[in-house]
């Protein structure tokens, strides 16, 4: 009976103030949709960095005057470095082939290279143990005799890492600002509900209703608002999440771009908890000092 009473009160509170409840739910929805969206985007950036991780190579161009033995010795030495996963020797002809491949639509460029093969030197393609090791490898390579030039995809990697960092800060600020807005809006709906029922609450307190019996319907009201907002946010992000990730991904191979379902489910559950927590906090603020004896 009492549980039913409490639930009925919470629901009738919600129905009584449809407009303000709507505002609170939308605030929670927007906040959590952005948080969830950010999580999805972060996932795809991490995934992107992972893809880069696999492809990062430091390229050491070699002087033309090295003998095969010297090259073998250099390769063996570099291979022993801790930062290095793998060293592949790339001959001049392989370089030319790759060049032809890349610039197959620009025959004039290919003509120039074929006339003067020294433009494309032989090189080591070095795979770092970790993507972040590339700069250490580069620093060591520069002083190796016989290495004419070192190049790596460092700028692209840095940009990506930076983007991920910005995304995290952005997500945090959104959570803080919109979270505060949602809490205030929910607190507002609770206060309106308390005001609408102040006579009833006064009588309940006079006849000795327990403090929590009076409070719980309002707490429940806030939690329901938070959970509804969370459910809507999950539905929204789930339906468009894949396209957001695709938009931000640097992948061109069309590989798996949307996060896997179990990842999404875990995040969704977290979000539900977060919505309920926001609602609870909002209710607590709304009731602050209002439902004392």
């Amino acid at each position: 009976m009492r549980f039913q009473y409490i639930l009925e009160q919470a629901i009738s509170n919600l129905r009584r103030n449809v407009l303000v409840v709507f505002a609170a739910v939308v605030a929670v929805l927007v906040m959590l949709a952005l948080v969830f969206g950010t999580i999805v985007v972060r996932w795809s950036i991490d995934k992107d960095i992972g893809r880069w991780d696999d492809n990062v190579r430091v390229i050491a161009f070699l002087s033309d005057d090295l003998s095969i033995e010297e090259i073998d010795a250099m390769q063996a030495e570099i291979q022993t470095w801790d930062e290095v996963d793998e060293v592949i020797y790339f001959t001049k002809s392989q370089a030319l082939e790759e060049f032809r491949d890349i610039f197959s639509d620009q025959p004039s460029l290919i003509d120039i290279v074929e006339e003067d093969p020294s433009i494309l030197p032989a090189s080591f393609r070095i795979k770092p143990a970790e993507a972040a090791d590339y700069s250490a490898i580069r620093d060591r390579l520069v002083v190796v005799p016989g290495v004419s030039q070192v190049s790596s995809a460092d700028e692209a990697i840095d940009a990506l890492v930076e983007r991920a960092g910005h995304m995290r800060a952005f997500a945090l600020w959104i959570m803080v600002i919109l979270g505060a807005a949602a809490v205030v809006l929910i607190a507002n709906t609770i206060r309106i509900a308390i005001f609408a029922r102040r006579d009833e609450i006064g009588i309940m307190k006079l006849v000795g209703a327990g403090n929590w019996f009076v409070r719980i319907p309002f707490l429940l009201e806030g939690v329901i608002e938070g959970v509804i907002g969370a459910v809507l946010a999950i539905a929204l992000v789930w339906s468009v999440g894949g396209s957001i990730a695709a938009l931000l991904s640097t992948a061109t191979d069309g590989g798996s771009i949307s996060p896997p379902t179990d990842f999404m489910l875990r995040q969704a559950l977290l979000l539900l908890g977060f919505g309920a927590g926001t609602g609870l906090l909002g209710s607590a603020f709304g009731m602050w000092g209002f439902l004392r004896d």
């Binding site: 009492r2 006849v207 000795g208 327990g210 403090n211 019996f213």
Partner: protein, 245 residues
């Protein structure tokens, strides 16, 4: 049943509502608190209900020192006290029956108790036939009867009434006083704040007179006379209870 010891209440603005109040009310007594507006009657009632804490002094109600009572025990205290106010405080969207049942529902009484207690108490106040009416379909006297039914349905040890006849005409007030007298005769301690001298004179009960927050007179049953109202309403407290309101 109720004991106040050297109680003072000063409100935030510095207004002294009551001071130096020593009062002892025994079980089963019927006590009037009289005095002009602002004399501290309502503050005393609020203090006994623990809607306010005294600035100094101690108050015992039903054997407990309520000035040191922790907040979570206040609801339990209030369950042993019934309250009636000048403005009835009924819920306009609930029927007579629902208004009375509400007091039992919110303290978690089981349904079968509510089903047996509510009609019984409505019969006591003479409103058994109007259980399904809404408050706005009732006269003022009838609404106050509903409010008394709600206060009494949980069989409290104490009934506190703050100007219960303040909004009612004299004839209707007589009916309400009969009802309070009947409730008092079931053993319930009744404390009633009023400035209606006619009622006080006619009831011949203990009268505590307040002025500017102090008790200026505390006279026991029958010893208190004020004005010439006695001949008009004499003896109505002993008449049969009914629904003439």
């Amino acid at each position: 049943m109720i004991r106040l010891q050297d109680v003072a209440k000063v409100y935030d603005g510095g207004t002294v509502a009551v001071r130096d109040v020593d009062l002892e009310i025994s079980k089963g007594e019927f006590v009037f608190l009289v005095g002009p507006s602002g004399s501290g009657k309502s503050t005393l009632i609020r203090l006994m209900l623990r809607q306010e804490l005294p600035t100094s002094g101690r108050i015992w109600v039903a054997g407990k020192d309520i000035t040191t009572l922790p907040g979570w025990k206040v609801p339990l205290l209030r369950r042993s006290i019934g309250t009636v106010f000048q403005d009835f405080k009924l819920l306009p969207s609930k029927t007579v029956h629902e208004n009375v049942a509400f007091a039992l529902e919110v303290i978690g009484r089981p349904k079968h108790v509510i089903r047996s207690q509510v009609p019984q108490v409505l019969k006591l106040v003479g409103l058994a036939a109007k259980a399904d009416r809404m408050p706005n379909q009732l006269s003022g006297g009838e609404q106050q009867r509903v409010s008394i039914a709600r206060a009494f349905v949980n069989r409290p040890l104490i009934l506190l009434a703050d100007e219960p006849t303040g909004n009612l005409d004299p004839a209707t007030s007589v009916g309400i006083m009969r009802l309070l007298d009947r409730i008092n005769r079931t053993g319930t301690t009744v404390v009633m704040a009023t400035h209606d001298h006619a009622i006080v004179d006619a009831m011949r009960r203990r009268v505590v007179a307040l002025e500017r927050g102090r008790v200026i007179r505390d006279q026991s049953r029958g010893a208190y006379q004020m004005g010439a109202g006695e001949s008009v309403t004499a003896g109505f407290a002993d008449g049969p209870g009914g629904a003439e309101a």
